[in-house]
Protein backbone atom coordinates (compact mmCIF):
# COMPACT_ATOMS: atom_id res chain seq x y z
CA UNK A 1 0.00 0.00 0.00
CA UNK A 2 1.76 3.22 -1.10
CA UNK A 3 2.22 5.80 1.63
CA UNK A 4 2.81 9.51 1.23
CA UNK A 5 6.36 10.59 1.94
CA UNK A 6 6.85 12.58 5.12
CA UNK A 7 7.45 16.16 3.98
CA UNK A 8 10.82 17.78 4.48
CA UNK A 9 11.28 20.82 6.72
CA UNK A 10 14.27 23.08 7.23
CA UNK A 11 17.05 22.04 9.61
CA UNK A 12 16.69 25.54 11.12
CA UNK A 13 19.41 27.58 12.82
CA UNK A 14 19.76 25.54 16.02
CA UNK A 15 20.75 22.05 14.90
CA UNK A 16 24.19 22.12 16.50
CA UNK A 17 23.55 20.48 19.87
CA UNK A 18 21.56 17.70 18.23
CA UNK A 19 23.47 16.97 15.02
CA UNK A 20 27.00 18.38 15.43
CA UNK A 21 27.38 18.65 19.23
CA UNK A 22 31.07 17.80 19.55
CA UNK A 23 32.13 20.32 16.91
CA UNK A 24 30.19 23.10 18.67
CA UNK A 25 31.31 22.17 22.18
CA UNK A 26 28.13 20.65 23.59
CA UNK A 27 28.35 17.84 26.14
CA UNK A 28 26.90 15.18 23.82
CA UNK A 29 28.68 12.71 21.56
CA UNK A 30 28.53 13.18 17.79
CA UNK A 31 27.68 10.36 15.41
CA UNK A 32 29.97 11.86 12.77
CA UNK A 33 32.30 14.79 12.30
CA UNK A 34 35.01 16.14 10.03
CA UNK A 35 37.11 12.98 10.00
CA UNK A 36 35.83 10.86 7.11
CA UNK A 37 38.88 8.60 6.84
CA UNK A 38 41.14 7.59 9.70
CA UNK A 39 44.79 8.66 9.47
CA UNK A 40 45.83 5.08 8.62
CA UNK A 41 43.30 4.62 5.78
CA UNK A 42 44.75 3.68 2.40
CA UNK A 43 44.88 6.37 -0.24
CA UNK A 44 45.88 9.97 -0.80
CA UNK A 45 44.95 11.94 2.31
CA UNK A 46 43.37 15.27 1.49
CA UNK A 47 41.40 18.05 3.10
CA UNK A 48 38.18 19.23 1.51
CA UNK A 49 37.00 22.69 2.46
CA UNK A 50 34.80 25.48 1.29
CA UNK A 51 32.05 27.91 2.07
CA UNK A 52 28.35 28.06 1.36
CA UNK A 53 27.35 31.37 -0.26
CA UNK A 54 23.84 32.80 -0.43
CA UNK A 55 22.26 34.75 -3.26
CA UNK A 56 23.95 37.97 -2.08
CA UNK A 57 27.34 36.25 -2.10
CA UNK A 58 27.47 36.25 1.72
CA UNK A 59 28.90 33.22 3.49
CA UNK A 60 26.27 31.19 5.33
CA UNK A 61 27.24 30.66 9.00
CA UNK A 62 24.50 28.15 9.84
CA UNK A 63 24.65 25.51 7.12
CA UNK A 64 25.36 21.84 7.68
CA UNK A 65 27.20 19.78 5.08
CA UNK A 66 27.20 16.00 4.91
CA UNK A 67 29.44 14.00 2.61
CA UNK A 68 29.38 10.35 1.64
CA UNK A 69 32.13 8.80 -0.43
CA UNK A 70 33.83 5.64 -1.54
CA UNK A 71 37.27 4.68 -0.27
CA UNK A 72 40.47 5.01 -2.30
CA UNK A 73 39.63 1.84 -4.21
CA UNK A 74 36.09 2.98 -4.99
CA UNK A 75 34.23 0.85 -2.41
CA UNK A 76 31.38 2.10 -0.27
CA UNK A 77 31.12 0.95 3.36
CA UNK A 78 27.57 -0.32 2.83
CA UNK A 79 25.96 -3.75 2.30
CA UNK A 80 24.64 -2.74 -1.14
CA UNK A 81 28.21 -2.49 -2.41
CA UNK A 82 28.84 -6.02 -3.75
CA UNK A 83 32.60 -5.69 -3.36
CA UNK A 84 32.41 -6.09 0.41
CA UNK A 85 33.04 -3.54 3.10
CA UNK A 86 36.29 -1.93 4.01
CA UNK A 87 36.14 -1.99 7.79
CA UNK A 88 38.74 0.72 8.30
CA UNK A 89 36.85 3.24 6.20
CA UNK A 90 33.54 4.87 7.04
CA UNK A 91 33.07 7.41 4.29
CA UNK A 92 30.59 9.71 6.04
CA UNK A 93 31.18 13.17 7.46
CA UNK A 94 29.04 15.95 8.89
CA UNK A 95 30.19 19.50 9.67
CA UNK A 96 28.45 22.81 10.39
CA UNK A 97 29.73 26.13 9.05
CA UNK A 98 29.29 27.90 12.39
CA UNK A 99 32.60 27.29 14.16
CA UNK A 100 35.08 28.66 11.61
CA UNK A 101 35.79 32.41 11.42
CA UNK A 102 35.42 32.26 7.63
CA UNK A 103 32.28 30.09 7.81
CA UNK A 104 34.08 27.18 6.15
CA UNK A 105 33.19 23.54 6.36
CA UNK A 106 36.07 21.07 6.15
CA UNK A 107 36.67 17.34 6.03
CA UNK A 108 39.79 15.24 6.34
CA UNK A 109 39.52 12.23 4.09
CA UNK A 110 41.14 10.29 1.29
CA UNK A 111 40.51 10.97 -2.35
CA UNK A 112 37.88 8.44 -3.47
CA UNK A 113 38.51 5.92 -6.22
CA UNK A 114 36.15 5.44 -9.15
CA UNK A 115 33.06 3.54 -7.96
CA UNK A 116 32.42 1.82 -11.27
CA UNK A 117 33.98 1.64 -14.69
CA UNK A 118 32.20 4.72 -15.92
CA UNK A 119 32.02 7.41 -13.25
CA UNK A 120 34.85 9.74 -12.32
CA UNK A 121 35.91 9.93 -8.66
CA UNK A 122 33.40 12.03 -6.74
CA UNK A 123 32.07 12.83 -3.29
CA UNK A 124 28.33 12.97 -2.66
CA UNK A 125 27.19 16.09 -0.81
CA UNK A 126 23.99 17.03 0.98
CA UNK A 127 23.39 20.66 1.98
CA UNK A 128 21.09 21.72 4.83
CA UNK A 129 20.47 25.17 6.29
CA UNK A 130 17.99 27.58 7.74
CA UNK A 131 16.05 28.88 4.75
CA UNK A 132 16.37 25.61 2.86
CA UNK A 133 13.11 23.70 3.23
CA UNK A 134 14.28 20.53 1.47
CA UNK A 135 17.90 19.39 1.50
CA UNK A 136 19.75 19.53 -1.80
CA UNK A 137 22.24 17.10 -3.30
CA UNK A 138 25.38 17.96 -5.20
CA UNK A 139 28.68 16.24 -6.04
CA UNK A 140 32.31 17.19 -5.67
CA UNK A 141 34.42 16.20 -8.66
CA UNK A 142 38.16 16.88 -8.83
CA UNK A 143 39.65 19.33 -11.32
CA UNK A 144 42.79 17.22 -11.68
CA UNK A 145 40.78 14.25 -13.00
CA UNK A 146 40.06 15.90 -16.34
CA UNK A 147 40.21 12.71 -18.35
CA UNK A 148 37.85 10.78 -16.06
CA UNK A 149 35.56 13.81 -15.75
CA UNK A 150 35.29 14.05 -19.53
CA UNK A 151 33.91 10.48 -19.61
CA UNK A 152 31.63 10.79 -16.57
CA UNK A 153 27.99 10.07 -17.49
CA UNK A 154 26.57 12.31 -14.77
CA UNK A 155 28.71 15.32 -15.69
CA UNK A 156 27.65 14.69 -19.29
CA UNK A 157 24.03 15.43 -18.31
CA UNK A 158 25.02 18.80 -16.84
CA UNK A 159 25.02 21.77 -19.24
CA UNK A 160 28.67 22.29 -20.22
CA UNK A 161 28.79 25.87 -18.95
CA UNK A 162 27.73 24.75 -15.45
CA UNK A 163 30.08 21.77 -15.00
CA UNK A 164 32.74 23.96 -13.42
CA UNK A 165 30.48 24.45 -10.41
CA UNK A 166 31.05 20.78 -9.53
CA UNK A 167 34.86 20.86 -9.69
CA UNK A 168 36.97 21.17 -6.54
CA UNK A 169 40.18 23.17 -7.00
CA UNK A 170 43.40 21.50 -5.94
CA UNK A 171 45.64 23.56 -3.67
CA UNK A 172 48.99 22.00 -2.78
CA UNK A 173 50.09 23.25 0.63
CA UNK A 174 53.14 22.32 2.70
CA UNK A 175 50.93 20.33 5.06
CA UNK A 176 49.26 18.36 2.27
CA UNK A 177 46.68 18.70 -0.44
CA UNK A 178 43.49 20.69 0.01
CA UNK A 179 40.58 20.70 -2.38
CA UNK A 180 38.47 23.83 -2.31
CA UNK A 181 34.78 23.53 -3.10
CA UNK A 182 32.46 26.48 -2.56
CA UNK A 183 28.73 25.95 -2.81
CA UNK A 184 26.78 28.79 -4.41
CA UNK A 185 23.10 28.56 -3.58
CA UNK A 186 22.11 31.13 -6.21
CA UNK A 187 23.54 33.62 -8.71
CA UNK A 188 25.56 33.32 -11.91
CA UNK A 189 27.76 30.62 -10.36
CA UNK A 190 24.85 28.68 -8.79
CA UNK A 191 26.09 25.19 -8.03
CA UNK A 192 24.45 22.35 -9.89
CA UNK A 193 22.05 20.57 -7.55
CA UNK A 194 20.68 17.18 -8.43
CA UNK A 195 17.25 15.61 -8.17
CA UNK A 196 18.35 12.25 -6.80
Amino acid sequence: MPKGQTPSQTVGPFFAYGLTPRQYGYPFASIAGAEVAAPDADGEHVRIEGRVLDGAGEPVPDAMIEIWQADASGRYAHPADPRGSNASFRGFGRVGTGTDAQCRYWFTTVKPGAVDGAQAPHINVIVFMRGLLSHVYTRIYFEDEAEANARDPVLATVPAERRDTLLARRIALPGGTTYRFDIHMQGPMETVFFDV
Binding site: P2, K3, G4, Q5, T6, P7, S8, Q9, T10, V11, G12, P13, F14, F15, A16, Y17, G18, L19, Y26, P27, F28, A29, I31, D54, G55, A56, D62, E66, W68, A70, Y76, H78, P79, A80, D81, F92, G98, V115, D116, Q119, N124, F128, M129, R130, G131, L132, L133, S134, H135, V136, Y137, P153, V154, M185, Q186, V192, F193, F194, D195, V196
Partner: protein, 231 residues
Protein backbone atom coordinates in the same frame (compact mmCIF):
# COMPACT_ATOMS: atom_id res chain seq x y z
CA UNK B 1 17.22 -1.40 -7.08
CA UNK B 2 16.32 2.28 -7.61
CA UNK B 3 14.40 4.18 -4.97
CA UNK B 4 11.13 5.98 -5.52
CA UNK B 5 11.51 9.57 -6.66
CA UNK B 6 11.38 12.47 -4.27
CA UNK B 7 7.68 13.35 -4.41
CA UNK B 8 7.64 17.10 -4.92
CA UNK B 9 3.89 17.14 -4.23
CA UNK B 10 4.82 16.14 -0.67
CA UNK B 11 7.87 18.35 -0.10
CA UNK B 12 8.15 22.12 0.10
CA UNK B 13 9.52 24.13 -2.83
CA UNK B 14 13.09 25.38 -2.49
CA UNK B 15 11.94 28.99 -2.56
CA UNK B 16 8.80 29.78 -0.54
CA UNK B 17 8.71 33.60 -0.20
CA UNK B 18 6.50 33.69 2.92
CA UNK B 19 9.45 32.04 4.69
CA UNK B 20 11.80 34.90 3.99
CA UNK B 21 15.15 33.15 4.42
CA UNK B 22 14.37 30.92 1.44
CA UNK B 23 14.51 33.88 -0.94
CA UNK B 24 18.31 34.23 -0.88
CA UNK B 25 19.13 30.63 -0.01
CA UNK B 26 16.93 28.34 -2.09
CA UNK B 27 18.42 27.32 -5.46
CA UNK B 28 16.58 28.92 -8.36
CA UNK B 29 17.67 26.76 -11.29
CA UNK B 30 15.95 23.46 -12.00
CA UNK B 31 17.49 20.45 -10.27
CA UNK B 32 19.40 18.21 -12.69
CA UNK B 33 17.97 14.66 -12.72
CA UNK B 34 20.56 12.14 -11.48
CA UNK B 35 20.11 8.45 -12.31
CA UNK B 36 20.55 6.51 -9.06
CA UNK B 37 23.65 4.38 -8.79
CA UNK B 38 25.77 3.00 -6.00
CA UNK B 39 26.57 6.54 -4.81
CA UNK B 40 22.90 7.28 -4.16
CA UNK B 41 21.76 3.80 -3.06
CA UNK B 42 24.33 3.46 -0.31
CA UNK B 43 24.74 5.57 2.81
CA UNK B 44 26.19 5.53 6.29
CA UNK B 45 25.24 2.64 8.56
CA UNK B 46 24.91 3.40 12.28
CA UNK B 47 24.85 0.52 14.71
CA UNK B 48 23.64 0.31 18.28
CA UNK B 49 27.23 0.98 19.35
CA UNK B 50 26.86 4.56 18.10
CA UNK B 51 24.14 5.26 20.67
CA UNK B 52 24.67 6.00 24.37
CA UNK B 53 22.37 4.46 27.01
CA UNK B 54 20.55 7.77 27.74
CA UNK B 55 20.58 9.17 24.21
CA UNK B 56 16.87 8.37 23.71
CA UNK B 57 15.82 9.98 27.02
CA UNK B 58 15.99 13.77 26.90
CA UNK B 59 14.47 13.97 30.38
CA UNK B 60 17.71 12.46 31.71
CA UNK B 61 20.52 13.02 29.21
CA UNK B 62 21.04 16.67 30.13
CA UNK B 63 20.58 16.42 33.88
CA UNK B 64 23.06 18.35 36.05
CA UNK B 65 21.34 18.93 39.37
CA UNK B 66 17.69 17.96 39.00
CA UNK B 67 14.93 17.14 36.57
CA UNK B 68 14.15 19.34 33.58
CA UNK B 69 11.07 21.53 33.92
CA UNK B 70 7.99 20.98 31.78
CA UNK B 71 5.56 18.34 30.68
CA UNK B 72 7.13 14.91 30.14
CA UNK B 73 6.08 13.20 26.91
CA UNK B 74 6.70 9.94 25.10
CA UNK B 75 7.25 10.26 21.36
CA UNK B 76 7.12 7.04 19.38
CA UNK B 77 6.26 5.80 15.92
CA UNK B 78 7.37 3.66 13.04
CA UNK B 79 9.81 4.46 10.28
CA UNK B 80 8.42 3.04 7.03
CA UNK B 81 9.27 3.26 3.37
CA UNK B 82 6.69 4.51 0.92
CA UNK B 83 5.61 0.95 0.11
CA UNK B 84 4.70 0.57 3.79
CA UNK B 85 7.64 -1.65 4.76
CA UNK B 86 9.23 -0.97 8.16
CA UNK B 87 12.84 0.25 8.19
CA UNK B 88 14.63 -1.48 11.07
CA UNK B 89 17.99 -0.51 12.55
CA UNK B 90 17.97 3.03 11.23
CA UNK B 91 19.17 6.12 13.07
CA UNK B 92 16.64 8.72 14.27
CA UNK B 93 18.04 11.98 15.65
CA UNK B 94 15.94 14.69 17.32
CA UNK B 95 16.50 18.16 18.72
CA UNK B 96 14.17 20.77 20.17
CA UNK B 97 13.78 23.81 22.40
CA UNK B 98 12.92 23.51 26.09
CA UNK B 99 9.55 23.92 27.81
CA UNK B 100 9.99 27.72 27.81
CA UNK B 101 10.65 27.92 24.07
CA UNK B 102 14.41 28.45 24.34
CA UNK B 103 17.05 26.55 22.39
CA UNK B 104 20.31 25.59 24.06
CA UNK B 105 22.25 27.48 21.39
CA UNK B 106 24.35 30.65 21.55
CA UNK B 107 22.52 32.14 18.57
CA UNK B 108 19.08 31.85 20.22
CA UNK B 109 18.43 35.32 21.67
CA UNK B 110 14.84 34.69 22.75
CA UNK B 111 14.33 36.11 26.25
CA UNK B 112 13.12 32.88 27.83
CA UNK B 113 15.03 30.84 30.42
CA UNK B 114 17.46 28.06 29.63
CA UNK B 115 16.94 24.89 31.65
CA UNK B 116 20.22 23.72 33.20
CA UNK B 117 18.91 20.16 33.18
CA UNK B 118 17.78 19.99 29.57
CA UNK B 119 20.07 19.64 26.56
CA UNK B 120 17.39 19.04 23.93
CA UNK B 121 19.21 16.58 21.69
CA UNK B 122 18.64 12.82 21.41
CA UNK B 123 18.97 9.82 19.13
CA UNK B 124 17.95 6.20 18.86
CA UNK B 125 17.98 3.29 16.43
CA UNK B 126 14.72 1.71 15.24
CA UNK B 127 13.96 -1.84 16.34
CA UNK B 128 13.15 -4.81 14.11
CA UNK B 129 9.64 -3.43 13.50
CA UNK B 130 10.97 0.01 12.54
CA UNK B 131 9.80 1.46 15.85
CA UNK B 132 11.55 4.33 17.61
CA UNK B 133 10.83 5.76 21.07
CA UNK B 134 11.95 8.90 22.90
CA UNK B 135 11.21 10.41 26.28
CA UNK B 136 11.39 14.18 26.31
CA UNK B 137 9.83 17.43 27.53
CA UNK B 138 7.12 19.03 25.45
CA UNK B 139 8.66 21.97 23.57
CA UNK B 140 6.98 25.38 23.55
CA UNK B 141 6.21 28.00 20.92
CA UNK B 142 8.73 30.79 20.46
CA UNK B 143 8.90 34.06 18.52
CA UNK B 144 11.06 34.52 15.44
CA UNK B 145 11.90 37.37 13.11
CA UNK B 146 10.23 36.27 9.90
CA UNK B 147 7.41 38.83 10.09
CA UNK B 148 5.60 40.97 12.66
CA UNK B 149 4.45 38.90 15.64
CA UNK B 150 5.72 35.67 14.12
CA UNK B 151 5.68 32.59 16.38
CA UNK B 152 6.77 29.08 15.56
CA UNK B 153 4.31 26.39 16.64
CA UNK B 154 5.82 23.91 19.10
CA UNK B 155 7.81 21.31 17.17
CA UNK B 156 10.53 18.70 17.41
CA UNK B 157 13.18 18.42 14.70
CA UNK B 158 13.97 14.99 13.25
CA UNK B 159 16.81 13.68 11.11
CA UNK B 160 16.75 10.25 9.41
CA UNK B 161 18.85 8.35 6.91
CA UNK B 162 16.91 5.23 6.01
CA UNK B 163 19.12 2.82 4.08
CA UNK B 164 20.67 5.20 1.56
CA UNK B 165 21.51 8.77 0.78
CA UNK B 166 18.38 8.84 -1.41
CA UNK B 167 16.14 8.28 1.63
CA UNK B 168 17.71 11.06 3.72
CA UNK B 169 15.15 13.27 5.47
CA UNK B 170 15.29 16.20 7.86
CA UNK B 171 11.92 17.42 9.06
CA UNK B 172 9.91 18.74 12.03
CA UNK B 173 6.78 17.38 13.61
CA UNK B 174 4.06 19.37 15.32
CA UNK B 175 1.41 18.81 17.98
CA UNK B 176 -2.31 18.38 17.33
CA UNK B 177 -4.61 21.36 17.78
CA UNK B 178 -1.88 24.01 17.78
CA UNK B 179 -3.52 27.34 16.82
CA UNK B 180 -0.21 28.59 15.40
CA UNK B 181 -0.06 25.96 12.66
CA UNK B 182 -2.22 27.80 10.09
CA UNK B 183 -0.07 30.92 10.65
CA UNK B 184 3.33 29.28 10.25
CA UNK B 185 5.07 29.82 6.89
CA UNK B 186 7.37 26.84 7.44
CA UNK B 187 4.50 24.41 8.07
CA UNK B 188 2.51 26.06 5.27
CA UNK B 189 5.41 25.70 2.82
CA UNK B 190 4.41 22.04 2.49
CA UNK B 191 1.76 21.52 -0.20
CA UNK B 192 -1.80 21.31 1.15
CA UNK B 193 -2.81 17.71 1.53
CA UNK B 194 0.70 16.71 2.65
CA UNK B 195 1.39 19.13 5.50
CA UNK B 196 -1.07 17.38 7.81
CA UNK B 197 1.36 14.42 7.81
CA UNK B 198 3.64 16.53 10.00
CA UNK B 199 1.19 16.58 12.93
CA UNK B 200 1.64 13.87 15.55
CA UNK B 201 -1.34 12.06 17.06
CA UNK B 202 -2.06 12.10 20.77
CA UNK B 203 -2.41 8.53 22.04
CA UNK B 204 -3.86 7.49 25.38
CA UNK B 205 -2.44 4.02 24.74
CA UNK B 206 1.10 5.36 24.50
CA UNK B 207 0.52 7.64 27.49
CA UNK B 208 2.22 6.24 30.60
CA UNK B 209 -0.04 6.41 33.68
CA UNK B 210 1.15 8.94 36.23
CA UNK B 211 4.21 9.80 34.15
CA UNK B 212 3.98 11.14 30.61
CA UNK B 213 1.54 11.91 27.78
CA UNK B 214 2.05 9.89 24.60
CA UNK B 215 2.35 11.07 21.00
CA UNK B 216 2.68 8.95 17.88
CA UNK B 217 4.46 10.17 14.77
CA UNK B 218 5.09 7.74 11.90
CA UNK B 219 7.73 8.70 9.35
CA UNK B 220 7.66 7.63 5.70
CA UNK B 221 10.96 7.67 3.79
CA UNK B 222 11.69 6.85 0.18
CA UNK B 223 12.45 3.20 -0.38
CA UNK B 224 13.14 0.66 -3.13
CA UNK B 225 10.69 1.17 -5.96
CA UNK B 226 9.48 -2.43 -6.12
CA UNK B 227 8.84 -5.27 -3.74
CA UNK B 228 11.43 -8.08 -3.77
CA UNK B 229 8.80 -10.28 -5.50
CA UNK B 230 8.72 -7.92 -8.46
CA UNK B 231 12.49 -7.72 -8.78
Amino acid sequence: MPYTARDWDSHPPLVSPDYKSTVARGPTRPLVPLPQGLSELTGPVFGHDSIGPLDHDLTRNGVRNGEPLGERIVVTGRVLDDRGRPIPSTLVEIWQCNSAGRYNHAADQHDAPLDPNFLGGGRCITDDAGQYRFYTIKPAAYPWGNHHNAWRPAHIHLSLFGNSMASRLVTQFYFPGDPLLPLDPIFNSVPAGARERLIADFSIDVTEPGFALGYVFDIVLRGPDATPMEA
